[in-house]
């Protein structure tokens, strides 16, 4: 009877353990981390977790071969995705995937139902010739796309597609579920200002005034800008040259070298940016995909092309700052895409590590998630693009041919709520939320900073000093310290005055007594001498005792 009871308890315990371990396995297969004030990586809570991984099967892309379906294209059409380079979530909430390898655009609803597969693009104004890499002239087959690389969709569902190998931007609207009518095409600008031979456009973006911005990797003067009518306007927001030792050396050489020598020097040219995004206020965000770029790695530009992050950002380091060499391969951050959510959180995708770095509008590091083990759920092989919709984050993988959906965890939603209040200056309201954040991750940097500011605003200067110390935030500590010092002085003013008066009186009393010869002239020296003598005697007597004891034995 007793044994039976013990057995049942044991079995129950084992079962419970099993259940617990399975729940533990349900979390992401990697350790999430975050940076502290010194950019040391510390383990942290996961702010996002994988909800869903979407492949062509989930979408039902087999229907492109089914003649009875409205999405029928041909019997040989590839049913899988192939080397997807970009995707875009339109303002209406529809996902447009650039299926680069299959030269088509796939349109999905946010529940991943297939809405359209655009393969035909009739209505091209004129056939035109372009020059390819080898210098051959080829006539563009204008009714189809050829290696489309990027897409943008405006609020009227007008698509702008960067048709890379056809060297054009296509502006089109849906005609049938498998074709879209071209409204306008943007070709290589025929002007002396445009110096490049080709127009291999990879990314496209349209602002509220219908200006079209195009990124060509061969052009480093910024984005190529077209007006709505299709005419070339100019370049927009070029990066600056990153100042390295080589650039400085070349600059010095140019002053003294002859013209032939100057011609042989490498030119200091800025790096073109890899991708961009536009937010609802019309600011354009860009990322530069160069290993460990520090100048203009991430920019937020106003319509004049001026980077306003220079003035407003609290932090200008993005991605993993430290390159890691592991098994002979060096991993350095390459920021490949940027997506700005409706509440102005900046999400940056790192191609190397497959990680998503999330920042707030002032570029404070918030959350890091994702990893580069393609075999596992939530891991990436060729993460090419990132988009946001609501609280979810979508990452497109060009080699795995899937889309990974990240949903926010409780921790992530607390962080978001707190940082929103914090950036509005509502420090006291943010305080309670920061408490929840710090309960889950006690070293969360922005949490410590937010708590510091909140406590300072609540006149709890001692607490503010404590948290400023934890966050290693010297300036904020100084503010709290000054306020605390002033408060202490004000509260104990009488005490300090009395103390000072007492000291002055003591000084005069001692002076008078010294004059009268009641106490020795050199009071401190005599006092110290007496103490030293006493100590010496005491030590000596102890030594004597030990010696005697030793002899006694």
């Amino acid at each position: 009877m007793k044994i039976k009871r013990i057995l049942t308890v044991l079995i129950a315990a084992v079962l419970a353990l099993g259940v617990m371990s399975t729940t533990a396995l349900a979390v992401d297969p990697y350790t999430t981390y975050n940076y502290d004030a010194w950019y040391n990586a510390l383990p942290s809570q996961a702010g996002y977790e994988v909800i869903q991984t979407v492949t062509y099967r989930d979408v039902g892309l087999e229907r492109v071969r089914d003649p009875s379906s409205e999405f029928y294209i041909s019997d040989t059409e590839n049913v899988n995705f192939s080397d997807m380079k970009d995707f875009f979530i339109s303002p209406k909430g529809e996902m447009y995937i650039v299926d680069t390898g299959n030269n088509r655009i796939v349109k999905l609803s946010m529940d991943f139902e297939l809405l359209a597969v655009y393969k035909n693009f009739p209505g091209s104004t004129a056939k035109h010739t372009v020059v390819d890499d080898q210098g051959n002239e080829i006539t563009v087959d204008a009714d189809e796309l050829k290696a489309p690389y990027g897409i943008f969709v405006d609020k009227d569902d007008v698509m702008y597609i960067a048709d890379r190998d056809n060297q054009r931007i296509v502006k089109c609207v849906e005609e049938t579920p498998t074709s879209a009518r071209i409204l306008q095409e943007y070709y290589k600008p025929e002007t002396a200002l445009y110096e490049s031979q080709s127009f291999y456009c990879t990314k496209v973006l349209v602002d509220a005034a219908k200006n079209v911005y195009v990124i060509c990797p061969a052009v480093n003067k910024g984005a190529i800008m077209f007006s709505d009518s299709g005419s070339f306007v100019g370049y927009y927001g070029a990066n600056r040259v990153e100042v390295t030792a080589e650039v400085i050396r070349n600059k010095l050489w140019r002053k003294i070298a002859s013209e032939e020598q100057i011609a042989s020097l490498t030119k200091s040219t800025p790096v073109e940016y890899a991708n961009f995004d536009i937010d609802d206020e019309g600011f354009i965000y860009t990322v530069t995909e160069v290993a460990n770029a520090s100048t203009d790695a991430v920019k937020r530009m106003n319509p004049a092309g001026y980077n306003i992050l220079e003035k407003t950002a609290d932090n200008n380091e993005f991605g993993d700052q430290v390159s890691v060499t592991y098994n002979g391969t060096t991993y350095a951050t390459r920021l490949t895409d940027i997506a700005v959510s409706d509440d102005h959180f900046i999400n940056i995708l790192d191609y190397t590590s497959g990680r998503v770095f999330q920042y707030d509008e002032r570029c404070n590091q918030l959350l890091i998630f994702g990893f580069d083990q393609e075999e596992q759920r939530g891991g990436f092989s060729n993460p090419n693009a990132i988009e946001t919709w609501g609280d979810n984050i979508y990452v497109l993988d060009g080699r795995n041919n899937d889309i990974t959906v990240f949903g926010m965890t409780e921790f992530g939603s607390y962080v978001h709520e707190a940082i929103k209040l914090h950036n509005q200056g509502l420090y006291e309201e943010a305080y309670e939320v920061w408490k929840e954040v710090l309960k889950r991750d006690g070293a969360f940097y922005m949490g410590l900073v937010g708590t510091t500011k909140a406590l300072y605003n609540q006149d709890d200067y001692k607490g503010a000093m404590k948290y400023a110390k934890l966050a290693f935030y010297g300036d904020e500590y100084d503010r709290a310290f000054e306020a605390n010092r002033q408060e202490t002085l004000r509260n104990n003013f009488t005490l300090y005055v009395i103390l000072i008066i007492l000291l002055v009186i003591l000084y005069f009393v001692v002076k008078i007594l010294q004059k009268k010869g009641k106490i020795p002239q050199r009071l401190i020296a005599t006092g110290v001498g007496k103490v030293v003598d006493a100590g010496k005697n005491a030590v000596m007597s102890v030594v004597e005792k030990i010696k005697k004891g030793g002899k006694g034995k």
Partner: protein
């Protein structure tokens, strides 16, 4: 003025009489090596204090870094030792009268204001804000330049030089310090390699003997 003073009183006398103090001390053949060593120890302590402590806003880095004693040891004791050696080696060639013991003692005595300034400025940084950093800097700079002045007159008295010769020899002493430190670094790396060489031979022989 009575110049029959106890050893510690000489320190006070020298510090507060920059121009004649060292001459007086040389005349009376005063100055204690024990006190000099103690002052260098205090120099080390003051460096530790200023790198590890102080008001948080003044020394954020110091509150987070792992404590490494070697740079501090080099910045205090090693600099002092190379200064003494370099100065003595140079000034013997330039008809300086000081022996190494005297150079060591005079240099150490001249460091006292710097040590005090270092302690005081770090201590005061606990009570002031960043806006009031002028106090911090002022105290530190006063201590530093007081020490420099003392050092000049100390070396002048020590070697019985003219003022210009003193300045020139001091500049060359700094150059000599650099050379000594570079040589030391070289020798250390060399010995490291020699040690590795012998260690390899030892293990090699050990393997053969055992097998």
């Amino acid at each position: 003025m009575i110049y029959d003073m106890k050893p510690w009183a000489w320190v006070k006398h020298v510090v507060f009489h920059p121009t004649e103090g060292f001459e007086d001390m040389r005349w009376k053949k005063a100055g204690s090596m024990k006190i000099a060593i103690f002052i260098v120890f205090l120099l080390f302590c003051s460096q530790v204090f200023s790198t590890r402590y102080g008001g948080f806003a003044y020394n954020v880095r110091g509150y987070s870094d792992v404590f490494n004693i070697m740079p501090i040891l080099v910045q205090s004791v090693a600099y002092y030792a190379t200064w003494v050696v370099a100065n003595w080696s140079l000034c013997t060639l330039f008809d300086g009268e000081g022996n190494m013991r005297r150079v060591a003692i005079y240099s150490a005595y001249a460091l006292v204001p710097f040590i005090v300034g270092n302690f005081l400025s770090t201590g005061i940084s606990y009570f002031i804000t960043l806006d009031e950093s002028i106090w911090y800097n002022a105290i530190f700079q006063v201590g530093l330049w007081w020490s420099v002045v003392l050092m000049v007159f100390g070396m002048k008295a020590c070697h019985q030089y003219s003022f210009t010769t003193t300045i020139v020899t001091m500049i060359f002493t700094v150059v000599g310090m650099l050379i000594i430190l570079i040589l030391l670094a070289l020798i250390m790396s060399l010995f490291q390699q020699v040690y590795v060489f012998f260690a390899t031979i030892y293990t090699e022989i050990l393997y053969r003997v055992r097998s």
